[in-house]
């Protein structure tokens, strides 16, 4: 077996048996690496590393009704997750359609929380503080404006200044290409993304926007491609805010955050994150002429890789998760959330969630990894790999630029093809035994002897309950007020690409407009059907 094993990075670079000073002879430490806290930030942004603040150790939640997700969040808090919450939205909400839509009712609460209205957000956050911890809501790009409006509305209800809430509730428009599917046309997604981003920046809200490589990589992309795609996305999107919305790049410093997928290729994963910091810093200075040092520092969070979690012998995933968490910690990051041992089976069970949180605490509190900043700096191998992945990524970035930039490359199918080809290659490598995966093509055991683990699930009846509740609740709203606010959204949505819809969306959300309704009338104003699945008609006379 071992004889066939590939000695290559996941992007195809043949690894040598040993690395020496010669491999990094052309590096000028001060110019190319620099101390932690100094440009180009290969070694991170803080001289003291984790001594000032350990990364946020958190778990994804979201399943079934808002009340059930709220209970899970409270359970996580008891397990020691106090720095921040992380909630993922369900499939209908991603589209977005409402729970009582004929298709929505089949899948409400599936794979996440059904965040279709302010009511659901109020129930989700019941008894959970909005400030003092980071509030992160993951979901489709289309819903970004809505999620931001929920935060603004709930903060107001609780008498909190909304600019004091920190975390992230908005996401980049390209995620619809990478499996985080919504049914909005890309150009409309980009417009809405600019609206929420501009609102955040102009109001100085401490909210980040996820511009991520994680979805791309988890859908099949390799490490070098992930870096290239991330930089291409940032360049395109931040460029739009500068050019179309007239924002200064230096004021965008606190907007983007990146979620890096960390797999099991230990040294490569660390090199990837180090190279990413340098690539972003260079882009900020060279392309966008950043003057503010903060604007050269991309906030980096880490998600340990779901696609490396095997269905077979799921307890093995605890070991994978630990290795990946350690890599993420060494690479340097602001937060980590883990894929759980049951990732290939179901949503995290309480058992799996506890294992993941404990794994993070074992890494942070027992290994000594938080003592020293960027401890692998100076390693011939790691410094070489950092340069190597960066130059590979620049080549791919150039190809994306040749397509006309990220939006054009997505529209031409270029990014999708890159991702699919890479996923196919990986499948072939595993099948040929060039890449070994324990429990899958090595040390395999019969299925009947496999580990028994608790499984968390959602029943069809749970989805139906969420749908029925919404159907009945809908009628209890102040309809004239709602109608007035929805009409305003519709009218504003006709005012062109650069007319910001956030103010009218916030008003409609406060009047308990739903995702289907608010996004529906925005769709109509842009010449599309109210319902992305074209099954129901707009209930408002517009």
């Amino acid at each position: 077996m071992e004889a066939r094993m590939k000695r290559q990075t996941d992007y195809g670079y043949e690894i040598k048996p040993v690395y020496t000073p010669e491999d990094i002879a052309d590096i000028d430490y001060a110019k190319d690496i620099g101390d932690p806290g100094l440009y180009p930030y290969v070694r991170g942004y803080y001289p003291n590393g984790y001594r000032n603040r350990v990364w946020t150790r958190r778990m994804t939640a979201g399943l079934g009704s808002s009340k059930r997700t709220n209970e899970i969040l409270k359970q996580y808090r008891e397990m020691g997750q106090t720095q921040g919450i992380l909630v993922i939205c369900d499939r209908p909400n991603a589209m977005p359609i409402d729970a009582d839509h004929p298709i929505g009712r089949r899948e409400a609460g599936v794979l996440g929380w059904h965040g279709a209205s302010l009511l659901e957000f109020e129930e989700l956050m019941d008894g959970i503080p909005l400030t003092g911890q980071s509030i992160t809501l993951l979901g489709s790009s289309a819903m970004s404006c809505m999620r931001l409006a929920y935060v603004v509305a709930l903060a107001e209800k609780r008498g909190i200044d909304f600019t004091e809430v920190h975390g992230s509730v908005t996401e980049y428009p390209f995620c619809s290409t990478f499996g985080q599917t919504d049914h909005m046309p890309l150009d409309l997604l980009i417009k809405l993304w600019m609206d929420s981003s501009e609102f955040i920046v102009r109001n100085k809200i401490h909210m980040r926007c996820g511009i991520l490589s994680q979805h791309f990589q988890e859908s099949g992309g390799n490490n070098a491609q992930a870096l290239a795609v991330e930089i291409a996305q940032l360049k395109e999107l931040l460029g739009l805010l500068v050019n179309e919305r007239g924002l200064h790049f230096d004021d965008l410093a606190l907007l983007p955050y990146e979620l890096v997928s960390i797999g099991s290729r230990f040294f490569e994963e660390i090199a990837k994150v180090r190279a990413l910091r340098r690539m972003y810093a260079k882009m900020a200075k060279e392309t966008f002429k950043a003057k503010n040092e903060k604007a050269c520092q991309l906030l980096i969070s880490i998600h340990t890789s779901g696609r490396t979690m095997t269905y077979q012998q799921p307890l093995n995933n605890i070991a994978r998760c630990a290795i990946q968490t350690l890599a993420g910690a060494i690479a340097g990051c602001t937060a980590i959330d883990n894929a759980c041992l049951d990732n290939a089976h179901a949503e995290p069970s309480a058992f799996a969630a506890r294992m993941s949180l404990n794994t993070q605490h074992i890494v942070s509190d027992e290994t000594g990894v938080t003592d020293v900043t960027d401890p692998l700096a100076g390693s011939y191998f790691v410094e070489y790999l950092t340069n190597r992945i960066e130059s590979e990524a620049y080549k791919i970035l150039q190809e994306i630029e040749n397509q006309g930039g990220m939006t054009a490359a997505v529209k031409k199918g270029y990014i999708h093809n890159m991702m699919e080809e890479s996923a196919r290659k990986r499948q072939k490598e595993i099948e040929s035994g060039e890449r070994l995966v324990v429990g899958v093509n090595e040390l395999v055991i019969p299925p009947e002897e496999d580990d028994d683990i608790p499984i968390q699930s959602v029943e069809a009846s749970d989805s139906e309950k969420i749908a029925k509740r919404m159907e009945q609740w809908r009628k209890t709203r102040n309809i004239p007020l709602l109608k007035e606010k929805i009409e305003q959204v519709h009218a504003d949505a006709k005012k062109g690409r650069n007319f910001n819809l956030m103010p009218s969306i916030i008003e409609a959300v406060k009047a308990y407009g739903t995702a289907g309704e608010i996004m529906g009338v925005i769709r109509m104003a842009n010449g599309f059907h109210y319902d992305p699945l074209e099954m129901i008609e707009c209930p408002f006379d517009l």
Partner: protein, 132 residues
């Protein structure tokens, strides 16, 4: 394969699930071994899938699922019964927990391939189904 006629397989993701990678990889290796693939992609309702199976008169239906509510697959089975398609095997792949997998098999799914299944096992199974 030594059969004269190409085996025709419908591959689809069901419901609002957006995880297409598995379905695309399976489609590509089925084509590599000479099968004909009708790839529907994402956002397919059970009704759309069964209608396409009838129109294209496929030999096998393959559903990729990454969601946590498997009722959609049950709905496909119901519609297949209604349309006298019970001779067409319905195979599924994806993150389907054991308990749900057992329930689906009882209900009429022919075979469930868990994540990390080899392309060989899937190809062999499809060939054996069609021969029968």
């Amino acid at each position: 394969m030594n059969t004269g006629k190409k085996i025709k397989v419908l591959i689809s993701v069901v419901g609002l699930d957006g995880h297409f990678t598995g379905a695309e990889i399976v489609s590509s290796f089925l084509m590599d071994v000479g099968m004909e693939v009708v790839y529907l992609g994402i956002y397919q309702t059970p009704e759309m899938i069964v209608n396409a199976a009838i129109e294209e008169s496929v030999d096998v239906i393959g559903i990729s699922s990454h969601a946590s509510n498997y009722e959609q697959i049950g709905l496909i089975l119901d519609l297949m019964k209604k349309n006298d398609l019970t001779d067409i095997p319905l195979i599924c792949g994806g993150t389907i927990p054991k308990r749900d997998a057992e329930a689906l098999l009882k209900r009429g799914v022919s075979k469930i391939f868990p994540p990390q299944s080899s392309s060989e096992s899937i190809v062999d199974y499809i060939i054996s189904c069609v021969k029968r």
